[in-house]
Each structure stands twice: as C-alpha cells, then as structure tokens.
C-alpha cells in the first residue's frame, strides 16, 4: 500500500485528483491540504510515501515548502501544475515526476507505475527554490509562525526539539533539524547545539583560557565549541 497526501490550494483540484486516484486500489490517500503550512504538519505527522504537490500556492509555494522538509525523511514528490513552463522544463531536465492539470488517466497511470517501482532517490537541491529558506516555519499552539531570517537571533537544539529564538527573545519550536537549517540558511554553526545569526552578534569573549562565547545584541550568551573556534574566527576575519 502506498500512502499519499494531496496538497493543492483549490478544493476542486484536490477533489479531481482524489477521484482520479480512486481506481488505483494500492494508493491510499491519507488526507488533503489546502496550503503548504497544513502540509508541513501532515507530512511530519503522517509520513506519507508520496505527496502530490501543487506548485502555485499562497505564501509558501510548493517548491519553497520542499526546502522546509528534512531531506532525510523526504517523501516522493509528484508536482502538480496547470501551466508553468519554467517549472515543467526543470522537472523534465531532472526527471522529477509531474502532472499537468487537468490530469489525464494515461499520464496518471504512468506516474503510479513509477511510484510502485519505488524509483530512485530524488535530490531536489538542483531546484534553486529548494536550497534557500527565506523564512523558518515555527509551530505554535494553533498556527505556524514564519520567521524571516533577519528576525532570528539564534537557534538552539534541545532535548524537546529545535527552538528558534527571535530578536525579541521569544522562543519558537520548529520542525526543521539543526543541520537542515545550517545548510539552507546563512546562519553560522557555533556549537553542536547552536546556530547563530552573525548579524546579531555583539561580542566574542573569552571567559576562561581556551573557551570562547558569543554575546548577542539581546545580551544572550552562546557557547562556542573549541573545535569550531578556528573556523569561526576565520569566517569573521579575526586572526
């Protein structure tokens, strides 16, 4: 059985695809999502095998949403679009699967056949939109807050999860792992548990011989691991 999630901002488009998938008895549609935010939550919770993902969606496009997923737990993605020449040519080039809306039965069957064969691993990093996070999705009780990178002071990994601390000192839980955030943002790794926004650093200080720490504009102190110190000093231009 292949579990699937349908992500499209138009209700009739979701309905049309769900109906088109009905004859395929080995496809189990877990849920439908109307935007990328809902989808991020469902993908984390349900871990579907495949996500049918519309590209044109409000606030966070399908491609941007991919950048917010952990590459280690990436579902198979089938892109959906009504018309997007640029995206389609990128999919063709990289052999990513896509469906044009309205979906024809033949074309859908081809896609399903590929899914059943569990084709090769997809590396979406070739799509420029998936490499850079413009904002970090953070979960609060009822909603997802999107923090712009210049609002971030530092990010800390704790036992309870990864927390983004904004410039006002508020903490936000995010589903993204620290190394994904390190890869897709310009934030700097200063410790096994910390990423820091260099623009928010006020001071580098040495409390004891051999140890170093950052003090942020907000007055918070972040440890710097001994192993990373030479690299950090080089990056900051300190000799």
């Amino acid at each position: 059985m292949i579990t699937a999630l349908i992500v499209d901002d138009e209700v009739y488009a979701r309905q049309a695809l769900r109906r088109a998938l009905e004859p395929a008895k080995d496809i189990h549609v877990l849920d439908e999502c109307g935007n990328a935010l809902e989808a991020l939550v469902r993908i984390r919770a349900d871990k579907p095998d495949v996500v049918f993902l519309d590209i044109q969606m409000p606030q966070i496009t399908g491609l941007e949403m991919l950048s917010m997923l952990d590459p280690k737990h990436m579902p198979s993605i089938v892109f959906l679009t009504a018309h997007d020449e640029y995206a389609v040519s990128a999919f063709e080039k990289n052999a990513f699967d896509y469906l044009l809306k309205p979906v024809t039965a033949d074309r859908l069957e081809l896609t399903l056949e590929r899914l059943r064969q569990r084709m090769t691993h997809q590396d979406f990093s070739v799509l420029p939109e998936t490499n850079h996070l413009r904002q970090i999705p953070c979960f609060s009780l009822q909603s997802i807050v999107f923090l712009k990178l210049d609002q971030v002071e530092y990010i800390e990994s704790r036992a309870s999860g990864v927390y983004v601390i904004d410039t006002l000192g508020r903490e936000h839980l995010t589903s993204l792992r620290l190394n994904v955030l390190q890869q897709r943002t310009p934030l700097m790794r200063c410790h096994r548990q910390y990423l820091v926004n260099v623009d928010q650093v006020a001071k580098l200080q040495y409390p004891d011989s051999g140890t170093a720490e950052f003090v942020t504009h907000g007055g918070r102190i972040l440890p710097i691991s001994r192993r990373l110190l030479p690299e950090i000093k080089e990056q900051l231009g300190i000799v």
């Binding site: 009739y12 309905q15 997007d84």
Partner: protein
C-alpha cells in the same frame, strides 16, 4: 591776434574734424565698434574701448595744426580722451589720457607738457562722469550727444586754464590760447557730439535688425506650433506655408516632400501647383545632397523650371531633415525678379526648416508610440493566461461530477469571458460591459477558490453608462486575484466600486491582501492601463496604486467626467 586767423583756423580744424569723423563712421560699420555701443563693464570690452579711443586720441593730435612756430597744436585729442573715459570708465579714461598725453609730450613745443596733462585731465573727466552716471543709474545719458558735447566743451575750457597756468612765457601763452580757444571749442564739441551720435545710430540699427528678426521668428514659431505634428501632408503643409508667407513677406513659399510639391503660395501659384512632381533642379539637388541651395538670381541665376514667364527671380531651398538625418522634403522661399532676397529671410528660412523638421519628427515619434501601445495591448489580450484557463477547466471537470447545473453555469461564464476578451482593445465600452467581463471572470474564480474568496460590487446605477477604454478594469481585477487572493491563506475579499466627484469618475479595485510591491512596478498590464488613459485624457488622469501592507491594495482609475457622459 586777429579775427581772420581765428576764423581760418576754425574752418581748417573743422575740415580736419570731417576727416576724423569720416574715419569714425567707417569704423562704426565694422564689428570693432560693437563693444562701444553699450556701457562697458567687462574687461575685454574695456580693452577694446581703450585701444580704439587711444587711436582716436592720437589721430586727433596728429590731425592738428601747429601754431606759433610749433609751440602749440590746434587739435582734437580731447574727443578720444573724453569719450574713452565716458564709455569705458575712469580707468580706461586715465589709460587713454596717459597714452595720448605721452604721445603729445614727445611732440614737444612750449605747450608740450601742458597739452599732455590736458589729455590726462580730459580722460579722467570722462571717466568720472561715467562713474557718476552709472552710480545714479543714468546709463542712458552716457550715449547722449548733448552730454558728450557739453562735457568736451567744459574740458576744453579747463584745458585752456591749464595751458595758461603751465606754459611760459605768459604773453606767448596768452597769445596762443586766444588764437586756439574758439577753433578748439567748436571742433571738439561738435566732433564729440557727432561721434556719439554715430555710435547711437549704429546701436539702433543693430537692435532694429535683431528686433525685426526675433519678432518674425517668434511669430512664425508660435503660429506653426504643432501643425505638422498631425502629419506631413498637403493640408498641413498648406497651413504652414500660409503662415510663413504672411510673416516673412517673401514673394512665394513652397513646401515639398521628396517627390512632389505639397504647398505653394504667392507669386507663380498659377503654375506651381501642389500635388505636381518637383521639376526644379535646385530642389532635387538640395534633396539629393542634403544641403541648402540659394540662387540669388544674380551670381547664381534662377530660372523657373515651369514657365518662362514666371516672375520669380531668386530662390532659397532648405531641406527638411527626418529620422537618421534623411531628407524628407524641402521648404522653399522665393522673391520676384524685382526684389532682392534679404539676409533676414535667408536666416529665417533655415530656422523655419529646423523647426518644421523637429515637428515632423515629433509627430512621427508620437504616432509610433501609440501604435506600439496598441500592439502591446493586443498582445496582452490575445494571450489568455493559460494558468487560469487550465485551472478553470480542471475545476469544471471536478464540478461536473456532482453539480451539473453549476458546471454548465461555469462553462457559460468561461464562454462570456473568452468572448469579451476578443474585444478590440482600441474600442470604448460602457462600464456595464466591462463589469460583465469582470463578473464572468470572478464567478469562475469564486468557484476555484471556494470560501477563500468573496466579491463585492458597488457601482451606482447612473455610472453604469460611463464610457471608458476597453480592458481598463479587467487587468486590475486579474491582478487582485493573482497577487492578492492567490497569495492569501486567510479569506480574501475583492471590492469593485465606482464614484464620481466634481470633475472625474473614480473606479476602484481593492483587495485585502495588501501585498502590492510599489518597487516591483505594476507589470505590463497595469502600465498599459495607466498610459492609455494618460495618453487619451492627460496627465492628471490614469491609474494610481496604494497599498497598506497586509491590509489593503487599492487600484484607483480616474477618468474625466466629460469623457464619461
């Protein structure tokens, strides 16, 4: 001393003065004198003033007559010195006086030193009078012949005083002064007055010339303004030719393109007919070589190429220049055989040709610009957004499944939308027609976005008859969907309203997304909406965008009320 010799000397000195003034008159016709025709302030002018009046000062000395065995000279250096000072100021006056004085001193005689000092004194007298008049703001008086004469008169009297004071022996000095005082007074006073009069005349003739010239040029420029913008054709050319003919007073005026006469007015209009091909070799040559051709009828003979009885005797042909310096026609001015071609009209002719060339160019440019706009628009609307079309079809397929009547309604809306999109963008439509177009479009979008979108119309009934260019509101609504609704997770609202104030009708499309990026520009569609209205109704109308981030984006179209009714 006898009266006879005084009179003889006076007459002789006056004769010399005639030679002196003849030289002054001759020089006044040259460019040398132009700096002297106004009160000099700038140093190059002062220098010219110094050189010229020093020359006249020395000439006045040399043209004199030695009296009493060469001890004194009855002469007229005073004019140069006084006028040098009067027109050039104290410094020039002093310089002229010193130079003239040194020259006189070396001619010697018992009066030598005194006469040298006289000239310096006269230069200064002129100079200080200059300064006095300038400070009082009486610059005009500098060119008064009466003042120049009077000042010279006084300075001659002073001169005699100095002579008597410095020259020895006194009896001889008295004798000499008695002999020369009357001749010098008469000759110098008259000479200075006439000299200034010559300058005045020169200035007036210069000014009259340029006044007549600029008056004509301005008159023509004002009258022909814009005529050729509407097209370089027979009708407009005729209007322009009429204006040139009236204003310049030449015998005849013609305007041609590269092949035929477009307009002809004046002498010879009976056989120089508009619409006929160009036959004049001069014109053909002017077109071929892009050069002004002038046949004065004297050195370069002019012969009408059409009729041997033509009364025209001289002709000026000036090419009109279009894009990339190509000749696009000519302007021709003629004078009859009985008149000479004035230089004013020659210069004017060339100026007119430049003016007309620019107008024709501007007109062509404008027409091309509006053509471009039309074609851009056509392109924009021939192209229905494929994203919209396929999404709509996808929606309809889904709806067909369980709501056939709604599917049928959506297909009808799509048909209406597509048909309205085939309207010619150049035509005017009623607001009601534009609303119908938008309505079909929005009903489809309502189905697509479901409860994420709500739409509100607020158009007062009377305004539904307002006329406006087709595709004025439609692109704004599409924009509100594309950059508003489609980007929103929370419910989106689009409101279309119309209102009027004293002078205009305001059409407003607003969405509650507030995502408009002023720096990103409005995109091609928005630009065209704005430019089209501005082109038609003027700069105070058109499209304005305003945005309150995340709250509202408002597109306001303003069109004139009179255009609406």
């Amino acid at each position: 001393m006898d009266l006879h010799s005084v009179i003889t000397l006076s007459v002789m000195l006056l004769q010399q003065m005639c030679v002196y003034l003849a030289v002054a008159y001759a020089l006044s016709r040259t460019k040398l004198f132009i700096p002297l025709t106004r009160a000099t302030i700038r140093w190059p002018h002062r220098l010219a003033c110094y050189v010229i009046f020093t020359a006249f000062c020395i000439m006045g000395t040399l043209l004199g007559f030695p009296v009493v065995s060469g001890n004194a000279i009855a002469n007229t250096p005073a004019i140069g010195a006084v006028l040098g000072g009067l027109l050039g100021g104290p410094i020039v006056g002093l310089a002229v006086g010193v130079t003239g004085g040194i020259h006189r001193y070396f001619l010697g005689g018992s009066f030598g030193l005194a006469a040298a000092l006289d000239i310096v004194m006269q230069g200064l007298a002129g100079g200080f009078t200059h300064r006095y008049l300038i400070r009082r703001g009486k610059t005009r008086l500098l060119f008064s012949p009466l003042l120049a004469g009077g000042l010279t008169f006084i300075s001659i009297l002073l001169e005699m005083g100095i002579d008597l004071a410095l020259s020895r022996p006194l009896p001889q000095a008295l004798h000499i002064v008695a002999l020369i005082v009357l001749p010098e007074l008469i000759a110098n006073t008259a000479g200075a007055a006439v000299f200034v009069k010559i300058l005045l005349d020169r200035r007036d003739s210069l000014e009259q010339h340029s006044r007549a010239f600029s008056a004509k040029a301005l008159e023509i420029a004002a009258h022909v303004d814009g005529v050729l913008r509407d097209g370089f054709d027979q009708e407009n050319s005729m209007r322009v030719a009429r204006i040139i003919y009236d204003q310049t007073g030449v015998g005849a005026v013609a305007i041609t393109d590269c092949h035929k006469i477009l307009a002809f007015i004046g002498i010879g209009a009976d056989h120089h007919l508009p619409g006929t091909p160009i036959t004049s070799p001069h014109t053909l040559q002017a077109i071929a070589n892009n050069e002004v051709f002038f046949a004065d009828g004297n050195e370069i003979p002019y012969e009408c190429s059409l009729s041997p009885h033509c009364r025209l005797g001289s002709s000026l042909v000036i090419p009109l220049i279009g894009e990339e310096k190509q000749v696009i026609g000519t302007v021709k001015l003629y004078e009859p055989k009985t008149r000479i071609f004035s230089t004013i009209n020659r210069t004017l002719g060339e100026g007119i040709a430049k003016l007309l060339s620019n107008q024709i160019l501007a007109g062509r440019y404008e027409r091309q610009k509006s053509l471009l706009l039309q074609s851009e628009l056509k392109l924009l609307h021939a192209q229905i957004n494929p994203h919209f079309l396929f999404n709509t079809l996808n929606t309809i397929i889904a709806v067909t499944h369980d709501d056939v009547p709604q599917a049928r309604a959506l297909l009808t809306d799509l048909a209406v939308y597509l048909r309205k999109n085939l309207k010619r963008p150049t035509e005017d439509v009623q607001l009601s027609d534009e609303i119908e177009h938008i309505d079909a479009y929005l009903r489809i979008q309502l189905a697509r976005f479901g409860d994420r979108l709500s739409v509100e119309f607020d158009i007062p009934q009377p305004l539904l008859n307002v006329r406006l260019p087709a595709f004025t509101l439609q692109p704004l609504v599409e924009n509100a969907i594309k950059h508003g609704t489609a980007q929103m997770i929370r419910p989106s609202r689009i409101r279309i309203s119309a209102s009027q104030d004293a002078h205009s009708v305001l059409l407003v499309v607003e969405d509650n997304a507030g995502l408009y990026d002023a720096n990103g520009g409005g995109g091609l569609g928005m630009n065209i909406v704005d430019r089209r209205i501005k082109n038609r109704y003027g700069e105070s109308f058109g499209l304005t965008m305003s945005c309150e981030s995340n709250v509202v984006t408002r597109a306001t179209v303003r069109i004139p009320l009179e255009a609406a009714s």
